[in-house]
């Protein structure tokens, strides 16, 4: 068996590949459902209903999708430039912490600033915190050849320990009866709800706007051009006069910044404070979403809603039937692997012999 490069990949094949991958994933997961002794059809229909079957289901899915869109965009811009940022999880927590530092500590204690100043300040602080975390690995990659996958991954553990220390120390909520939880965000800084009585908040619109903005960045701007050129062939980009290190640093700031903003939006839109379990791996899921989307910003919107729907749907399905919610993690993880294979097959064909 060997792989032969295809001359051309048609647009249809490129669009069909992720859907084929999802279909394949669902059929693999069906085997596990059978193994758990549950009827496949009913399980999937419950999952679908739980994720998309009602206004409430949609509201929960979109709430879950909001941070996923932002972390998916963070991975997309980084991967486009071949800066493999695996540290979005840590950058997200750093952003959340920065948001509380601006909007929780000061906002709550004496600094009587208008929310019109404080809110943008909070977002910028979160973006800077995330960006700062990725700046070091990006510079080490460009200047010293240090593998950014290793450095960004390890930073996640450092950041989580730091968050733990802060939640037990300077940012500890004195009213939380000993729970490791930060002080609450100033209520004036919380994001408005889009639908009364649900949790879906205006952060969704902000995330969707950023997705469109990134699409325009890639398509119409010189920076977007530089990012794509550096990612596709850094040597040729350098020969053409594109500053490779400068572009990678710019990408690091964008990617880390987006992950940081994801943390701030979670705090301002959903939780109201920082805990050590506020993110069930949103940063890592962002990688899956970016790959599912084929590194297309608009695709990130769709992929986020798909992944969020699966996660939310699995929760409600497992309450009704004896299949554990872990099936959602299996589906998400398998879909990443199948998308990678499907992408490979759009570029190569398999020859048996």
């Amino acid at each position: 068996m060997r792989l032969e490069k295809r001359n051309e990949s048609s647009a249809l094949v490129l669009i069909a590949a992720p859907f084929a991958a999802v279909a394949f994933t669902l059929s693999v997961a069906a085997l596990l459902v059978l193994w758990a002794g549950a009827p496949v059809g009913r399980t999937y229909s419950l999952l679908l209903q739980g994720g998309f079957g009602s206004v409430f289901a949609w509201s929960e899915t979109l709430t879950r999708a909001t941070p996923l869109i932002l972390s998916g965009l963070a991975a997309t811009v980084a991967f486009k430039a071949r800066l493999f940022n695996i540290g979005a999880e840590g950058q997200l927590y750093a952003g959340a912490l920065a948001a509380i530092a601006v909007g929780g500590l000061h906002g709550g204690t004496g600094l009587e600033w208008s929310p019109w100043i404080l809110f943008p300040l909070m977002i910028v602080a979160a973006a800077l915190a995330g960006a700062a975390l990725l700046l070091g690995p990006a510079l080490m990659k460009q200047k010293l050849g240090v593998d950014e996958v290793v450095t960004t991954l390890l930073f996640n553990f450092i950041v989580l320990l730091f968050v733990g220390a802060m939640l037990d120390g300077p940012m500890k909520d004195p009213t939380a009866m000993g729970w490791p939880q930060s002080v609450a965000l100033n209520g004036e800084l919380e994001l408005g709800k889009l639908i009364e009585g649900t949790r879906v908040h205006s952060g969704l619109l902000f995330a969707a706007f950023l997705a469109v903005a990134m699409w325009a960045l890639f398509r119409f701007t010189t920076l977007g051009f530089r990012i794509r050129a550096v990612g596709a062939n850094a040597r040729a980009a350098a020969f053409a006069g594109i500053p490779v290190t400068g572009t990678v640093v710019m990408v690091a700031l964008l990617s880390g910044g987006l992950a940081g903003v994801a943390g701030a939006i979670e705090v301002a839109g959903r939780t109201g404070y920082v805990t050590l379990d506020m993110s069930p791996g949103y940063g890592y899921s962002g990688i899956v979403i970016a790959m599912l989307a084929g590194l297309h910003p608009i695709g990130v919107l769709l992929a986020s809603i798909f992944v969020a729907g699966v996660l939310v749907g699995a929760d409600s399905m497992s309450r009704a039937i004896g299949v554990p919610t872990y099936i959602a993690d299996v589906i998400v993880a398998t879909s990443l692997l199948s998308v990678l294979v499907a992408t490979l097959l759009t570029q190569y064909r398999v020859r048996w012999k």
Binding site: F225, A229, R235, A236
Partner: protein
Amino acid sequence: MTEPAPVLRIRNISKRFGELLANDAISLTLDSGEVLALLGENGAGKSTLMSILFGHYVADAGDIEVFGKPLPPGNPRIALNAGIGMVHQHFTLADNLSVLDNIVLGSEPLWQPFSNRRAARTKLLDVAHRFGLPVDPDARVGTLSVGERQRVEILKALYRGARILILDEPTAVLTPQESESLFATLAQMVAQGLSIIFISHKLGEVLRVSDRVAVLRAGKLVAEAATKGVTQAQLAQWMVGHGVDAAERQPTRVRGGSVCALERVSTARRGREYLRDVSLALHAGEIVAIAGVSGNGQAALANLLCGTLSAEHGSVTLLDAPLPAEPDRLVQLGVARVPEDRHAVGVVGDLPVWENALSERLSSPAFSRGGWIRGTAARAHAQTIVKRFDVRGGGLTTAARSLSGGNMQKLILGRALTPPAGAVAAKLIVAHQPTWGLDIGAVAFVQQQLVAARDAGAAVLLISDDLDEVMALGDRIAVMHAGALTEALPAEQWTRETIGLAMAGSHAASTPGAERAA
């Protein structure tokens, strides 16, 4: 050569890749003790045919017989065992191992705990002696010259019992003198009963070494003849399908002032690939051609003038100001650059043609404003380049990767030589191996463009390891060896022999012309 049974018989081999019929019912025979030259342009199907013979590809139709026995398809090991040996153009040797280790590598089973080095050494020396290929088994391959490395490659094939030897463009990396010594070796091997397939697109050497010649064009065998009795013109016509005018030297008419000057320039050392005390002046309206075996500092010289390498010592000036080591500044100042490796450096393969046409001038006000790309203007400019330089094989939105080598080179050349409105025309052209691997038509086009740019007043630096090209185009010629450059002398003061000697680093040849011209 009329031997009774052919050692190799290829019958009706066809191979199709998608739309492309790479081999179309090709039949060939190779007799014992014969040198068969396989001639054809790039893409004519030579490599495909040899890959099928060697088991890398499986033919769609046809069969192969070696020494009267059918050869099962698709297995390189069986081909090796049947006595077929291949010497690739790009050597497959490990630099850090000795000659003996390189030759033994892969010829012993993996599970054999100890290699039998003494027997291997005896066998190697015996083979070397028999075929007249002297070699030091303990020398590290990294310390050998290119010609010696090729000898090791040939020995590797002979050591494994090859009786049919395929040489893929063997002279591409050799100096003229090294080529001569290779030809002598070939004669000796043939005398020992070996049969040789010699792949080349250089007509002169094909006539010199082969007994018979087979010409491929667009996947078909178009001609087969005894070498005695054919002429270069005849071969060229078979290769391209129509008559070809031999490139005629058109010497420069007006030599202008100095455009770019290197003054005792040295760069950081990386093997032989560096500059050592190099001085050179490039004048408007003149082509300076740099000859030399590649890997002797040509890349350093090209990178220096393309803005991707800085000098450690010495000065480089462009139009009387220090040359900035920034590609985009150089482009603005009128330096047109054609890099050696068009796939890896010249274009970003995944991006479309129009974006590649734009990439060097992204920050030019003609194509961007406030960080936004002026798409319409950029596409119009790309269209101009595509039209003027006849870039075929796709539209503006086709990925550059899918262009053929010739069209890709036309795109790169067009991008370099087509300034947008308001930018200066090319003043200095740095062309590194601009015709390498192109078909004859594209070669002629590229060379004409360089001559035309010179006639329009540009200074041209042409770096090439094709001696014919150097001699056909250069108004002045200099030779590189191990980082050092000879004086650039008028082309008339050089001969093929003196250039060859200088390429090999012979000291007597470094200061040739002066006495000769006197």
